[in-house]
Symmetry: C2
Amino acid sequence: MTISYSFSHLANTIKRSVMRDLIALANQPDIISFAGGLPAADHLPHEQVHACMEAVLTRDGAKALQYGPPYLPLREWIADYMRRRGVASAVENIFITNGAQQGLELIARLLLDDGEPAVLEALTFTGIGQAMNAHGADVRTAPVDLETGVEVEALAEALARAPRPRVGVVIPDFHNPLGVRLPRESRMRIAELAAQHGVPIVEDDPYSLLRYEGEALPPIKSFDEAGAILYLGSFSKMLAPAMRLGWIVAPAEVLSKLTVLRESIDLESSQLLQRVATEFLTQGHLEPHLQALNAANLERRNAMFAALDRELGGVAEWTTPQGGLFVWVTLPERVDAGAMLRTAFEHKVAYIPGANFSPNGPGPANTLRLNYSNSTPERIHEGIRRLAEVVKEHLDRLI
Amino acid sequence: MTISYSFSHLANTIKRSVMRDLIALANQPDIISFAGGLPAADHLPHEQVHACMEAVLTRDGAKALQYGPPYLPLREWIADYMRRRGVASAVENIFITNGAQQGLELIARLLLDDGEPAVLEALTFTGIGQAMNAHGADVRTAPVDLETGVEVEALAEALARAPRPRVGVVIPDFHNPLGVRLPRESRMRIAELAAQHGVPIVEDDPYSLLRYEGEALPPIKSFDEAGAILYLGSFSKMLAPAMRLGWIVAPAEVLSKLTVLRESIDLESSQLLQRVATEFLTQGHLEPHLQALNAANLERRNAMFAALDRELGGVAEWTTPQGGLFVWVTLPERVDAGAMLRTAFEHKVAYIPGANFSPNGPGPANTLRLNYSNSTPERIHEGIRRLAEVVKEHLDRLI
């Protein structure tokens, strides 16, 4: 009696993110999970958001609940913030999105046709590959370095190869999954490459304000004289995921196209959340929030380094992030972190196998991504102790 | 120095919604605008939303700001609500979206491939055509009747024709732009047709609770035994647009596909807004809100009928909605409501030319859509007086 659905090619081929399933699975209270990409739950600024919500609804009433154009004071704050980071931008260059993921979807929709090449990092956030694949990208990758992110001359080669890519994507700051940063000269070179090859490059930057060590580095976009860098910002990590707000910095001609494309996807972002975020930002809550958040993240990263040293020193290697949410761990070559995951669940600890972060076939099997921002130092020590047992058990079985 | 962008085929061909530009233009305070599709700004329940926000942030704190799965109590409320409307649904059938427009985008993405047919009403909400076109639909239309909505036997013919359509879309209640409702027997027949032809039909229902006259009619989905009806609900009109929340009722197998497709678009809906909406619904705010809203809408519709009778009786004809936001007006055949718009702006009154509501080339030139829900009776009387002047001036020029 029930009809059988004919799904689109996309719906039939898109891969369920293993990560989401894993993160859900790892969400049981007795499991110490390093799997998610969540900001520290105990440092989400709910009291300040509460006060801002109060202020907005008292002041704006029904206006905050109605349809409306992208909220101008929010675009103004963002344009000003980008200028402080060295990006020559005006309100006309700021497009409000529902988080950086929607920015990726919109840019893929804007630039890609079926079978057209896109250049991604060989290890990158899974949502980037999903958005590009949903628009038929033929994905090329550029290798990454575990200290400095994407290898810029390899990126140059991938951009130069015919047919010309329609878009490239890089994560400059506190890379997901690697945790590392692009040096200043790489940023300059990437802006230059985009201009030289005429290929728009997306600078996906949800993490740069989550810096607890080292100096601030200018965004790639600050070196962009050709309008070739599409900068993606997000309030999810620097304020709160449930704001569902982010932004694109782009040339005005691109913005007008994005506006039309956005209509058919979901019309617009919430007037209420846009106003609350603006209140948070303009009332000076951001700085103290980031100070507390980054202090906590630093403490957690230090706990993870100490635990890794103690438990896996000499066995594993790991990246040395100065901000963001993640450490990338490389285990002995014969380890299969995907196969090892079952043992990890038995030992009540979880991570994401690094192989999942390759947008083009499986990545290196002996790697894993650890999130330290959403666990206390105590749980980090205990979790890494369990992880070390898991690794030893796994290695013993392989002998 | 600046690069020239190569846009996708879609970005190069998608049409900017004339409506959005028009609505923005008509938003000046000295213009009486019947153009928008906004719920009554003076009846948005901001005090209740304020109280709910208060309750949620006090109770849930940081949890309301974090990432999270679709909020179960909201899905439960919706499943229960749909059951009260005669739809056999469980939580497993309820998918949360950012409003009905995102539901349309997701369903288009789920079912359509380039060049595959989709059957739409010959006059329909512009966002439906936009979503289907964005996924390459070859749009077929079924004519509409100005008293009863889509002509069901013509719909049957369009569904039966080869190649088989991948999807159909109808608006059963208080149609946008017509304001009319499908009779009960048409609803039964549409459910039957979807099953018979194996074509999923979207029931786009943002308006059914905005009923101030006549009896409630069961949704098409309540007659659906084949799992062939994809019901779209929205909180934008019944609660507030800025909640940016809606839902899809679909078979569980469809839901699991939607979940994967949603990830790459924008990950998820706001935990905060989902919790606030749930609080609003479970604390009993919906009924009194709808009573006040519908009483205001009835008063406004009556004002519009009285004004139309007085000013354009014998010249124009109009539909007789019993709910929703819109009246559809047919002027003498020689009128071009698009061309007349300039005169209308001179007279400080605005509407949407009916031609814009055809998803397949321009619709009837001598028609227009009037929104009555977002103007007071006084402004409606004055606005229709101005509109009548505009029509007379336009007709005089044509002689």
